[in-house]
Each structure stands twice: as structure tokens, then as C-alpha cells.
Assembly symmetry: C2
Homo-oligomer: 422 residues x 2
């Protein structure tokens, strides 16, 4: 539908009745400009955690099907309240649940994947100039049971309905102004980015940027749905997330990311034989533990050291697996270190610029920060360092890549180009 904008409001944006009134006013203003508006809402902040805590009073392993029914209530409540608030402003609005918007998923309760959307009823309502308010995060499976899309699933709901209805863009409203070159709480002169490409955003999301869920960006990328991340507390323009435009110059690096909650496990002195690494990582995979970086060094005497990193949340479990598994390889030593952090630079510009990684290494070295591990992708370089150097490293890299100013306004030009197309 030309002229349709999908707006998604997160939990803090609808966290109180006062905030819901503000959101309603914002939506009513957009509608007055002649645009059709579809809104996707999350549960009021705190609601999901409150419901989960109640369920956990009964069981450490509540049935996923029941958790889905339980949690989906939160979004239904927000949707009904926002719809009432909109009508009170004279803005005709109708709520729709996941089922009513025709969002059908597979049956993987608590982390369902969308199969298809039949938004014909929503389309009709939009054509009749109603604002349609959708309860995010939820759908139904083919048996008619309520499913949910996992934490942050409302973002995915929003992009999916935007795609289904051919919206011109999907705006994700949150409590930050957009995507920054670095965490503004850590880097005083961090700058909001006007444009970020899908690929960059995917890397950033996988590196812990909480502003958008990976799946939401994946769906947007697949269907080329432009995303805008902006704050529901002000009228700043936010960040546009869109397809890369090869004709545009891009800065070498778009942002600096860090993750503190990392640990490193090292198995020293295992035989340097085929199958050792496979044995270790099969066992971890079986225990559903995700491993991030891996390195293996071979020593002179035909022994190898294997190190890998993972989220500290899984360290205890991983060490138990390792004690059982590594035992058969008779390692000299099994040690873990939780005082590490992962520092990453991300940028589409890396595809066409060489030498960016070495700027990163040199910058860290100049600050006397030792690099423990390195991993790279086409548009990312990550280094594991001692966690006490995190702030120092992020600030030094932010300076080294001159991120506080948009280089020769490339960003602005890119944005102008992209928004013309909308």
C-alpha cells in the first residue's frame, strides 16, 4: 500500500498510560498528514517479566505453549489501551491480535518463525482510514494455538506486517534516538548515524547492539523494507537502515561495538591430532552452547592449545562439558578467564578499503592494550582484550576512525539519496 507507514512502539514507549497518550498523539499527527498508519505494540515495560516471574513460581520448566498464552496477553493489553487512547483523540482505530492480523507461525513455541501473513482484514480497515493497532510478538500456529516470536519479537512482527502490506517504511520507536557510532554512555562524542546498511546492522545486532533484533533486520534485508530507528520521546529523525548503495562513498568504519560479558576457555597441551577440536566442539554443540571465537596453536612438541570464547552466562555449563570431554584427550591444563571483552569495528566501507584492521591493531597497541584473539568478517574486525581496557579501547578507536564527525557529509548524501526513493 503506497503511503502506508508501520510504526512499532516498544515497552518503554507504552510503559505508562501517560506514555500511551503521547504515542497516540504522535500517531494521530501522522494520520493527519494523509498517511495510512499501522501500529505494532509491545507489552508495557515490566509486564512480560512480571508474568514470567509468576510462572516460575510454579515451575522451573513451564510448558512453552502455556508461556506463549501467558506472555501474549501483555501485547493484547497494550494494543487495546492504545486503540482506546486513539479513539479518544478522535482518531478511528481498531485493535488486532496476532491471529486477527493473520500472522501464522510454525509450532516452535516461545521462538516461533513466521510462515505467512494474511493481512486482508487489516488492509480493508486501513482503506477505510482506520489506524490498525496490532499486538506484536505473537501469532498462531496452524492448529490455532497462540505462539510467540521470542524476545524482541514485536520488531519482527512490525517488519513482517510492513512487508505483507507493502508499507513504504517501518519505523521502530524506542528509548534511544537511533544507531550511534559507539555507546554514547561510554563515548561522549559518539554520533548518531543517519544511515546504516542492513549488513552493518546485522553485524551490530550480533555484536550486542540492543536497538534492533537480528531477525527483524534479516527480514527487512530480505524484503528490502527500509527501517527507521528513532525515539518516541522526541522528534529527532533517527537512523535509516536500508540497502547498501554501491555508488555512494561510505566511511571506512561506521561504528565501534563492545561486549563485556565474555569468557575465554583454554585447553592446553592436547595431542595435535585430527579429531580433537571436532570432539570438543561437538560436545559443546550438543549441550546447545554457542561458541564465538576459536583459536588453535601448535607447540613444538606436537601438542596443541585450543582456546575459545563464549557468553559468560554459559561458562559454568561449558566448563562441565569440557571437564568430561577434554578428559579423554589428557590435556595438561583446562583454564577459564572471565576478565575479557570483545571490541569490534563494523563498516561497509571495509569491503573497498584495505588496511583498516591494521589501523585497529596499531591503535590498541599504542594504548598498550594486548590483543588476545582476533576474528574478522568482510565488514567487521573483532579483538578480544582484557576487559579493564574496554573504555580506553572504544574511545581510542572512535578517535582513530574519526567517527565524531560525518566524513565529508557522506552520510547525509547517502540519506538524501535513499529517502528520495521512499
Amino acid at each position: 500500500m503506497t503511503g502506508l507507514i508501520v510504526q512499532k512502539y516498544g515497552g518503554t514507549s507504552v510503559g505508562t498510560t501517560e506514555r500511551i497518550k503521547n504515542v497516540a498523539q504522535r500517531i494521530a499527527e501522522v494520520q493527519r498528514t494523509g498517511k495510512d498508519v499501522m501500529v505494532v505494540v509491545s507489552a508495557m515495560a515490566g509486564e512480560t517479566d512480571k508474568l514470567l516471574a509468576m510462572a516460575r513460581e510454579f515451575s522451573d520448566h513451564p510448558q512453552h505453549r502455556e508461556i506463549d498464552l501467558l506472555l501474549s496477553s501483555g501485547e493484547r493489553i497494550s494494543a487495546a489501551l492504545l486503540t482506546i487512547a486513539l479513539n479518544a483523540l478522535g482518531c478511528q482505530a481498531v485493535s488486532m491480535t496476532g491471529r486477527q492480523i493473520g500472522l501464522v507461525t510454525d509450532s516452535s513455541h516461545t521462538r516461533a518463525r513466521i510462515k505467512h501473513i494474511d493481512a486482508s482484514r487489516a488492509k480493508e480497515l486501513l482503506n477505510n482510514k482506520h489506524v490498525v493497532v496490532v499486538a506484536g510478538f505473537q501469532g498462531i500456529n496452524e492448529q490455532g494455538d497462540v505462539t510467540t516470536l521470542g524476545r524482541g519479537g514485536s520488531d519482527t512482527s512490525a517488519v513482517a506486517v510492513a512487508v505483507a502490506l507493502g508499507a513504504e517504511r517501518c519505523e521502530i520507536y524506542t528509548d534511544v534516538d537511533g544507531v550511534y557510532t559507539a555507546d554514547p554512555n561510554m563515548v561522549a562524542d559518539a554520533r548518531k548515524l543517519d544511515v546504516v546498511y542492513y549488513e552493518e546492522m546485522l553485524e551490530m545486532a550480533s555484536l550486542g547492539a540492543k536497538v534492533l533484533q537480528i531477525r527483524c533486520v534479516e527480514v527487512a534485508k530480505k524484503y528490502k523494507m527500509p527501517l527507521v530507528v528513532r525515539s518516541s520521546y522526541n522528534n529527532e529523525e533517527g537512523t535509516l537502515i536500508c540497502e547498501e548503495n554501491p555508488s555512494m562513498e561510505r566511511p571506512q568504519v561506521s561504528g565501534i561495538m563492545y561486549q563485556k560479558n565474555q569468557s575465554k576457555v583454554t585447553v592446553r597441551g592436547v595431542p595435535d591430532e585430527p579429531g580433537i577440536a571436532a570432539g570438543i566442539f561437538d560436545a559443546l554443540a550438543e549441550a546447545a552452547i554457542s561458541v564465538d571465537m576459536i583459536i588453535q596453536n601448535v607447540s613444538a612438541e606436537g601438542h596443541a592449545d585450543i582456546s575459545f570464547t563464549l557468553d559468560t552466562d554459559h561458562l559454568v555449563e561449558a566448563m562441565e562439558v569440557m571437564k568430561k570431554t577434554a578428559h579423554q584427550f589428557k590435556p595438561e591444563n583446562l583454564i577459564s578467564d572471565s576478565n575479557i571483552a570483545k571490541i569490534s569495528i563494523v563498516g561497509e566501507g571495509m569491503r573497498s578499503h584495505s588496511g583498516i584492521a591494521s589501523v585497529m591493531f596499531r591503535t590498541l597497541s599504542n594504548e598498550n592494550i594486548n590483543i588476545l584473539m582476533i576474528s574478522t568478517s568482510e565488514i567487521r574486525v573483532s579483538c578480544i582484550i582484557e576487559s579493564k581496557y574496554t573504555e580506553l579501547a572504544v574511545r581510542a578507536l572512535h578517535d582513530a576512525f574519526a567517527l565524531k564527525t560525518a566524513p565529508t557529509d557522506m552520510d547525509a548524501k547517502a540519506k538524501a539519496e535513499q529517502t528520495k526513493a521512499l
Copy 2:
């Protein structure tokens, strides 16, 4: 289904996670006896009011369709939590929403009437020895929108699914032990009744007995579904509500009811002409104000006085209507009195015993209580008196009809006869 028991738990019975655990234990015990159990739950106590209060922050007249989506969340939350609690006790249970239980209603949002129920999926689950936990109070209309059955609608849901599945009885769990001969807070020796007939219960419910909703009793009566009202806090037997059994002797009076929140409006000195009363009560009906008792006295001079009673909640509105309408009849006087109460005796035994009304009038007279208005049905006599005499009147009538003891154990016999049939 033979051997199926439907149990309905009200808001206080599932008001905390601790209470939900108790309810789960109670259900698990019933299932262990070999019975199939279906459970209907209300929202946790206070939840519905909390949601309504939020809606009213936006609008004095929120859309009924949105209110239904909003409020139906409360029962879905209870259903999911109770199901999780049951599974944690090793009792296989599955939740179902109004839609999943196939409860289809008309489209009168906030007070929908049930059209039909397709409980085939529930039946299958029960056959596989699952406890089915149903979110009460809600259904969907033929368009697929969520509807609710009005306050207390979970009782009606429970009876309706009991009928649809051919349950052997429907147990309504609440915070009182059953139906009493009078309000136990007012009459110290009020006695719990073992058996109450549908007709009596209908009268009692319309006279303000909050233990059961009128519609729930109507449906039970229509389909002869035995109801049991009992407490979820203890193991007392409760009150059986069932079809009358003409072969059984019944006490003349089963219970004494009172309603305090009553007002009387009197229009004095209107012309004694056809159409005057019609004019007055048409106007009140148009304003959707329910009138209870009506009397008209004709004076010597060809003038009439018309009095009627109504809930005090509607008094202000009714007086406004009367000021406009009565004006054209040029009444001498328009007065209202809120210091009145309605005292009623109810009993199936009245059908076959004469003189019961006069015992009531004499008892009140003996206490020097003046009767302002009287109305009767086949199994009920109601008197309007000054409200300050309420307690005195109820206690005197409770004594006069000897309600503190079950006369010649008729109740017990009746019960034995009825339960044999189950």
C-alpha cells in the same frame, strides 16, 4: 461425557500464586479419583478492575470491542498460570481460550450471549486424560473478534461448557461455603442450605445474592445441569442447585434476602387519566433505567400518586428524566427517598403453602416496622421498609420461618434423592 466434572474458580480463588497452587492441588486430587476434570477460571482478583481503570484514563466511553480484548487477557493469564501449576504437580493439563473451546457468541461486546460451543478439541484432550483449563468470561463472534459475557460471565462459561460436554455437574468455587438462609454477616444463626431449586436461586440472584449470576442459573435450569456452589478454601460440601422435585416436601421459605441500595420516587397529584403512567415509564425505559416496584394510588379528587423504586445508582438520572417528563402532567410534588430497603422471602414451598405472606407482614408488624410497598411472585414476597429496620426485619423473619434448623431434615432428604441421580 459421564464422569466429567466442570469446576469454576473465581477471582479470589486464583488471586495469588499461592492460591493457584492450592487450586491446582484440589484439581489433581479430583483427577486421581478417576474423574475427568475441566476447569474454568476467572481473572485474578483485582486484575479486571485494574485494566478497566487504565482504559478509563483515556476515555469515559471506551469502545466495547477494545474493552473485550483488554479484559479477556485477565482470564487468559489465570488459565496459563493454573495450567503450568497443574503440570508442575505432574497432572497433565492444557489451557484453552474462549476461541479454542469453540465458544461462539453474538457481537454484543461486553455482554455477549453464547450462540454455540464446539468443544470437540477439548473432548479429545479430556479423553486423553488431560485436565483442560479454560479461560472463562470470553468467546469470539462470527467475525473472529474477542467478546466477553459481562461481569460474572465465567460462571456462565462454566455452565455452558458443562452442558456442551454433558458433564455430570458444574461446581462453582468461590469464597463462601454455599447459599445461606440469610446473610451470615447479619444473622448469626443463618444456615447453609444443602439444596436450592433453580427457581429459588433465580429469585435470590435477582434479589442481589452475589454468589451466582442470573444468566448462569438460567442456562443451568434450561439444560438441567446440576450446580454446586462451594468454597475453594475448605472441603465443605456446599449447596446443590438443581431441578425441583415435586415429590419432596420443602420448607415454606428457603431464605431471607435484603437489598439496601434502593430508592423510592413518588409523583404526587397527577391527573388520574389514561396514559400518565405509560408516559412516565416510557421515558425511564428510554433512558435505560430499570424500575423495580410500582404502585399507584388514586385520591378522592381524581388525582393519582405514582411511586416506584429503583437502584440508588440510577436515582440522579431518574430524577432528571422525571423532572422533564412529569412536568407536563403538572404534579403537585416530585419527591425521592433513599432511606429504604427491600426485604424478601423466597421459597419453592410457597407454591403449595398459603398464608406465608401474612406471616411475613405480621412478623414485621410485631416489630413495629411499617411496610411501604409490597410485591410478590409465586415463590417470593418482597416488602419495602425504612432501611434502618433492615437488620431487625431480616433477623425477625429468619426466626419466624424457623430457618436456623432444617425442618425435619427435609433438606438432607432432598439432597440424598438428588445426588443419587448424579
